[in-house]
């Protein structure tokens, strides 16, 4: 049985501090995305009923482990995949129904930074050409003004101007990611979506990049949707966190509040498992993550939940709002 709380826009997970005067940049309504496996006999439910909004100027982290569906969610938001069910609205317009001008506007408003930063840069283009491309495509500057704009962007991401004639394979890992950030900023977007942009970097380079992203986001007012498996990174960058498990958002709310008092047992487990200097090693969850092709009945987390109760097998909790603006998908949320 699935508890259905039909969302009006006011029921959707809004950041409590943002007054939704304009349309949210993104609104996902019960988005589902399935892939057929086993020759079509089974369905892999990568996204199984996602509700989310992203307001202008806010920073949101999508946190999840493998199988959570976070990468699929990003692809759906960008329009790279079509949903099997539900709707994705960008500034109030359904992504499926964008006309040509709206599509161009969307391409400009939403910039994406790939996980494989090096692979997302054309190896035959110089740094200058790469960063200049979105500026030229969206006609944001006259031809003569573009080099200056590129200089400005390079400075913004902390790269020396002399790098502009280099090719991507000549740059270090950290520099490549900065180029990707500069290119994302080049089209003056309203939201930057980044997929695991700091994974695999040395601690110090990672710190540089995180500071860069955080400072940029705060100074420019561009919204940031940051996908990561690392709760610490999510907490550092973003004011709001959405925790995903097996294709659904199980908790979302202000970062600081969630860190102080997580309500969903999975969030609490993620926090407990995160290595800290002031806590002993703890393995809060047993077992493996179930396959998205074989979801448990009722609450999908019940097979590993330390607080599982009898009714958890029968009911699939939907993401519901609590009074203080927190959204939790649990029949027995942890006390505040």
């Amino acid at each position: 049985m699935h508890i259905e709380v039909l969302p009006g826009l006011h029921d959707l997970p809004f950041a409590p501090t943002t007054v939704p005067a304009a349309q949210p940049l993104f609104a996902l309504l019960d988005v589902e995305k399935s892939f057929p496996v086993d020759g079509g006999r089974r369905a892999l439910r990568a996204l199984d009923g996602v509700r989310l909004t992203v307001a202008a100027g806010e920073s949101l982290a999508l946190v999840g482990e493998s199988g959570s569906g976070k990468s699929t969610l990003v692809r759906v938001m960008l329009g790279l995949e079509k949903v099997s069910n539900g709707r994705v609205l960008a500034s109030g317009v359904d992504l499926d129904a964008l006309d040509g001008a709206q599509r161009r506007r969307f391409a400009r408003d939403v910039a994406f930074i790939y996980q494989d930063a090096l692979g997302s840069l054309n190896p035959r283009m110089t740094v200058e050409a790469l960063i200049a491309e979105p500026v030229a495509v969206h006609e944001l500057r006259g031809r003569r003004e573009i080099p200056e704009r590129v200089s400005g962007l390079l400075a913004q991401v902390g790269l020396p101007s002399a790098l502009r004639h280099r090719y991507p394979h000549e740059l270090s890992g950290g520099q490549v990611r900065r180029v990707a950030v500069a290119r994302a900023l080049a089209c003056e977007p309203r939201v930057i979506v980044a997929d695991e942009s700091v994974a695999g970097l040395d601690v110090s380079i990672q710190a540089q990049l995180l500071n860069l992203l955080r400072d940029l986001q705060r100074a420019s007012g561009i919204a940031l949707v940051f996908v990561t498996h690392d709760l610490g990174v999510a907490a550092y960058l973003c004011d709001r966190v959405a925790v995903m498990y097996l294709g659904r958002i199980v908790e979302t709310g202000a970062t600081r509040e969630i860190l102080q008092a997580p309500r969903h047992p999975y969030t609490a487990a993620l926090m407990r498992a995160f290595p800290r200097f002031d806590a002993l090693l703890a393995a809060p969850l047993r077992g493996e993550i179930p396959s998205p092709a074989d979801l448990p009945s009722g609450c999908r987390f019940r097979t590993r939940c330390p607080h599982v109760q009898a009714d958890c097998a029968g009911v699939d909790p939907a993401l519901t709002r609590h009074e203080d603006g927190r959204f939790v998908a649990c029949l027995h949320p942890l006390p505040s």
């Binding site: 960008l78 391409a107 994406f112 692979g119 054309n122 400075a155 020396p160 101007s161 502009r164 520099q175």
Partner: protein, 296 residues
């Protein structure tokens, strides 16, 4: 946020404009011993072909039956053939037809095959299916057989040799280009360009083509030697260039009956052919290694 070189710790080299990039490519190319040696050999033949009229001691078709079938001597460095024609002179002029056939047929094959492969790879769907089935048909025939059939229909002569060989190259080029295009299309930066709103035409010109270009160039380089070999083969079989045009294949054919008496008649053009092919292959391999960004 100002760029602080100390903070980033990058010792940055001065800017490198386009000319410097070309120079560095050339340098990388020459650094490869293979390419240097191969290039030198090819250059030797090209010079021989261009300046054949100045370098050749005798007119290539001047017959002198009294001096027929003479071995290498002071008067004729590489000997004479059964008509008394100087082999060295014929070799030099023969280089012209060999090189011309090689490069012209490949160029023509590229001109037809590359667009076909591009359209197939970019369009996909029914267009791709149709084009690839045609290509499959072309590929079903071994190149030499197809060229022979072509010559039988069109008649002999150097021009037709070029056309025949070009046709037999369309299939391989189209197939390779299509495969390269598909591979490039799947790379993240192409999707990234689409996400950024880059129009389709620019995606093709700026993102797909430049990344497909170097594999094609390398392929083309290697094809030239195949073309020269096939051209000589056609002439050898009597289906290529018409005598008395100096052509290495023809020369080898003419010397066939005299192998025991005058081995230099087939031997010299055979050696020349082998040397040129080795040079071309070395150069093409060196080119491939130089263009591979990983080996830089």
């Amino acid at each position: 946020m100002a760029a602080d070189p100390l903070l980033l710790g990058t010792a940055v080299a001065p800017a490198r404009p386009r000319l410097a990039r070309l120079q560095s490519t050339l340098r990388a190319l020459l650094a490869q011993r293979k390419a240097a040696v191969g290039g030198a050999i090819v250059l030797l033949f090209v010079v021989a072909a261009i300046f054949a009229s100045q370098l050749a001691p005798y007119p290539p078709t001047e017959q002198n039956l009294a001096d027929a079938m003479q071995g290498p001597s002071a008067a004729h460095w590489l000997g004479t053939d059964s008509f008394g024609q100087d082999i060295l002179s014929r070799l030099l002029y023969g280089a012209r037809s060999a090189l011309w056939i090689g490069f012209a047929s490949v160029a023509l094959g590229l001109a037809v095959g590359v667009p076909l492969g591009l359209i197939a790879g970019l369009r996909g769907g029914r267009t791709e299916w149709l084009i690839m089935r045609i290509v499959d048909g072309l590929l079903a025939f071994p190149e030499l057989i197809m060229a022979m059939a072509f010559m039988a229909v069109l008649g002999l002569g150097m021009g037709n040799v070029v056309y025949a060989l070009a046709l037999s190259f369309v299939g391989p080029f189209a197939r390779t280009v299509r495969a390269d295009v598909l591979q490039v299309k799947a790379r993240p930066f192409v999707e990234a360009a689409r996400l950024m709103g880059v129009p389709a035409r620019e995606i093709v010109l700026r993102h797909v083509l430049p990344n497909v270009a170097s594999p094609i160039l390398i392929q083309a380089g290697m094809r030239v030697s195949i073309a020269i070999l096939l051209g000589s083969g056609l002439s050898f079989l009597g289906l290529g260039v018409v005598p008395p045009t100096p052509d290495w294949g023809l020369m080898i054919a003419e010397g066939r009956g005299f192998i025991s008496m005058a081995p230099w008649m087939s031997g010299m053009p055979g050696l020349a052919l082998a040397l040129l092919l080795v040079g071309l292959n070395l150069f093409a391999e060196g080119l491939r290694d130089a263009l591979d960004p990983r080996t830089r």
